[in-house]
């Protein structure tokens, strides 16, 4: 369990964040200046709250009333700062080893750092610095990982290499991660719990599938970024076409690529904008994934209608125009077909199940 309750005045800004979450990845989501970094700093011990309590997996890091305040260096955290904060006087190798050498070779390999080991940070590009910072935090073998937009300076290909590693940490090592990101795809993929920050307060907190597939949360998260998270099991592999067939609770879909062995559990993010709704089951489409669904909720926003869908035990989210909503005569309880474009669910959005 991760419990964070922090109160602090920063100039004119009032931080008063309060949330609890099961172990896993907690995504801190929110606009620029909403207080995400401040929360993380409090957990790291770099900012001392005026009041509050911070507990991670049974370890009390801070408790104002009990006057507990574990010093930063004893908190065993790995903090990937928003700015890389590499030590300028040390080589990349020394930077990496500063906190420890846990899984050194694999981390270096994964982050593609082997060519850079002898360099000084000043001779690195922006993305390279960020990768070293990630590696340094991972190698310190923390019991809690704090990541403040760790992937924002990286290209898509590099992100695709790092995300599975973080999933592995979450699932295999059971490492709790507080993760700040503006990219819903990263959040959907990694997060167990989503905490939406608004002006220093927690606007919404809940399981990732719940928050992201809630039509009412679309406004908070951003229309572009909204989308549901579903769980799936690999039911079949098509070696020739390189496809994976997934069993969802409400049907089967096929995705490109080999996503794992048969029986593996995955989670998928299906962006609201990638779901097409139809009253009749369509034929002859390139989209191979047609799921029966039932409308559970509707939420009209300025840019269209967010449609909550139940599809077996999973929830989906679709975004349609108002005209379509009218044409389809959408209303809660309506049963219809949800078409998910197979290649719209890219590997980025597919993660090991948490």
């Amino acid at each position: 369990m991760i419990e964070v309750h922090v109160k602090k005045r920063l100039g004119g800004f009032d931080l008063d964040a309060d949330f609890a979450a099961p172990p896993g990845v907690i995504a801190l989501f929110g606009k620029s200046g909403s207080g995400k970094t401040s929360v993380i700093n409090a957990v790291a011990g770099l900012m001392r709250p005026e009041a509050g309590r911070i507990e991670i997996d049974g370890t009390l890091l801070f408790d104002r009333t009990r006057r507990i305040d574990v010093p930063v260096h004893r908190r065993r955290i790995g903090y990937v700062f928003q700015d890389a904060r590499l030590f300028p006087h040390m080589s990349v190798a020394k930077n990496l080893a500063y906190g420890g050498s846990h899984e050194r070779d694999r981390v270096i390999e994964m982050l593609g750092l082997s060519e850079l080991l002898d360099r000084r940070p000043a001779a690195l590009s922006g993305g390279e610095k960020q990768r070293v910072a990630i590696g340094r935090a991972l190698m310190s073998h923390p019991r809690l990982l704090l990541m403040d937009e760790p992937l924002s300076a990286l290209d898509a290909a590099r992100k695709a290499e790092i995300l599975p590693w973080l999933e592995r940490l979450r699932d295999e090592a059971g490492l709790p991660i507080l993760y700040v990101s503006h990219a819903a795809s990263e959040v959907a993929r990694l997060a167990t719990t989503v905490v939406v920050m608004e002006a220093g307060r927690v606007g919404r907190v809940g399981a990732v599938a719940e928050v992201l597939s809630d039509p009412a949360a679309v406004g908070m998260i951003g229309a572009q970024e909204a989308g549901a998270v579903v769980r799936a099991r690999i039911a079949g592999l098509d070696r020739i076409d390189g496809l994976t067939e997934l069993a969802l609770s409400g049907g089967r879909i096929v995705l490109p690529g080999r996503l794992g062995g048969i029986g593996t559990h995955l989670r998928l993010r299906i962006s609201a904008q990638d779901v097409i709704l139809a009253r009749e089951k369509p034929e002859g489409l390139s989209a191979l994934n047609i799921l029966p669904a039932e409308v559970t909720a509707l939420d009209e926003g300025p840019e269209g209608v967010a449609v909550g869908l139940a599809c077996g035990a999973d929830r989906l989210l679709a975004r349609v125009t108002r005209r379509s909503a009218r044409a389809l005569r959408l209303e809660p309880g309506l049963r219809l077909w949800a078409i998910v474009k197979a290649s719209a669910v890219a590997p980025d959005d597919v993660g090991g199940a948490a």
């Binding site: 930063v72 030590f87 420890g100 340094r136």
Partner: protein
């Protein structure tokens, strides 16, 4: 060379180097501590410490020497404690080193303090999150990043120690082979009509030595700086 400077003068040169090097080496840890306390500490008496550190700069050297004399003499408050322990500064080259160290102390501390203040807390914080204790943060991050300032402080202190005269001669007087440093020798020459020539020869030697030390340290600190920033 040996006819250019007499053996007594060469002895003074060697002694000066020994005294200055000892003064800097021995006061360095304390200087670092003071600089650190002044840069990062928040404690009552901080300003007092600050003033104390600057004191030798403000006091005329003779006064400093005289105070040393009073404090470290056999009956003095410190001297009387050290005497039974067999530690004595009076009329010893160690006393000269002590006087030089004290006179050079403010010059040593200021640049160090400045450099400590300039080390970004963000990096020290980063080190702490990686599990480094305060001491380790200091040794591996703060100190290396402040090194140019530490070197600058040490250089200033060394140069000052090489030139120190007033406090030294007042405290430990001028005993050939023991406390007769180059500056005291120069002073003695200057007191005699016609002694200017010999004094200037000694000046030349001490300038050459100090410049050599300066160049080496510049080169050193430039190397360090190059390693730190690119």
């Amino acid at each position: 060379m040996t006819d250019w400077l007499g053996p007594e003068e060469w002895q003074a040169v060697r002694l000066s180097l020994k005294v200055s090097a000892t003064a800097v080496a021995v006061s360095l840890p304390l200087g670092l501590l003071c600089a650190l306390a002044l840069a990062k500490g928040r404690f009552p008496g901080r300003q007092l410490l600050n003033g104390l550190v600057h004191l030798p700069l403000i006091l005329p050297p003779v006064v400093t020497g005289y105070l040393l004399l009073v404090v470290f003499s056999r009956q003095g408050p410190i001297g009387s404690v050290l005497e039974p322990l067999g530690v004595s500064f009076a009329f010893r080259w160690t006393g000269a080193a002590l006087a030089a160290a004290i006179m050079a102390f403010p010059l040593m501390v200021r640049p160090m303090r400045l450099a400590f203040e300039a080390v970004p807390p963000a990096l020290e914080q980063a080190a702490a999150t990686l599990g480094a204790s305060r001491l380790r943060v200091f040794v591996t991050v703060t100190l290396p990043l402040a090194l140019p300032g530490v070197v600058a402080g040490a250089i200033l202190a060394f140069a000052k120690a090489m030139g120190e005269f007033g406090a030294t001669i007042t405290f430990v007087s001028n005993i050939p082979g023991e406390t007769r440093t180059v500056p005291t020798a120069i002073y003695a020459f200057l007191q005699m009509p016609g002694g200017e020539g010999a004094a200037l020869r000694l000046v030349a030697v001490s300038v050459a030595l100090a410049m050599g030390a300066l160049l080496i340290s510049e080169w050193l600190s430039r190397r360090i700086a190059r390693r730190v920033a690119a």
